[in-house]
Symmetry: C2
Subunit: 150 residues, 2 copies
DNA sequence: CGTGAAATTCCTCATGA
DNA sequence: TCATGAGGAATTTCACG
């Protein structure tokens, strides 16, 4: 991971379909050298995957929702992690500092779907107190990559 | 945006370097038809860009931080949006429901950088009360796409 | 670790159904 | 809207500096 690698990553983030020759021209390397660096970064896990950023509304997920919650006292955090992993609407779930130890970010099609998601989380049996926050607009929207179906 | 388009997007999200022939084989379409659908989705803005997902730690941004804040009463929300747009560490900034109207997500290299970022936001002159939350671990990490340099 | 050229694979585009 | 096929690019590989 030297500076050259970082420049290549920046260019790929902008447009990962760029030709190796183009990238090479911009960073001052032969196409095959660029190719070799990309191959290494993929192998090292620096690059996790080549993907597409999409418009969430076009995929019928216009609502961005944050859930902050505490688990029930007897809950097993490991089991909770597994219970929510793989939920198609949950984009992120973090264990965080503060009074509400869990922060979940999800995207849904309608407000009704918020309740459905909450019920599904509740079904794990670990849900304690919780708080729902809805995004009204976004000054910086973030990158949306659709879930991959299994 | 029919179901065929959705399947193609799912496959591209998984690996956007897949050959058109592969995708066509999986969804039952000729390579040129897949190409045409992708071209249309890019033109329509359904696909925003082809990009790469990376490991934030490998790019020296291991710390995930959430800021919740209120603006000062006299603050102009539009000016605030512009002030934070383009900040390299701010991945997301949403106007949300609830007692803390703004939610910012950022990635930084060290805890010291949290304070730097806060000071930069404060420099806009709009920052009121605020609360910092640090992610300890992530059950669902989310997708990290590095910022593109201007 | 980087290069350049050969060999392969892929994309593009015009045409027709 | 989709499929076919030819021509032109791009990627990949590899022997060498």
């Amino acid at each position: 991971m030297d500076d050259m690698d970082r420049r290549i990553i920046g260019l790929l983030a902008e447009d990962s379909r760029r030709a190796l020759a183009d990238i090479g021209g911009l960073v001052g390397l032969a196409p095959s050298s660029v190719n070799e660096r990309i191959r290494r970064m993929v192998a090292a896990g620096v690059i996790r995957r080549f993907t597409v950023e999409t418009d969430p509304s076009a995929l019928d997920l216009p609502l961005l929702v944050f859930l902050r919650l505490v688990l029930r006292p007897e809950a097993d955090a490991t089991a909770f992690r597994q219970a929510i992993a793989g939920h198609p609407r949950i984009l992120e779930c973090h264990h965080v500092t503060g009074a509400w130890p869990w922060l979940i970010k999800l995207r849904v099609e309608t407000v009704a779907e918020i309740e459905v998601a909450l019920d599904q989380i509740r079904a794990s049996g670990f849900l304690g107190q919780h708080e729902t926050t809805i995004a009204l607009s976004s000054a910086v929207a973030g990158v949306f990559v659709p879930a991959t179906m299994p």
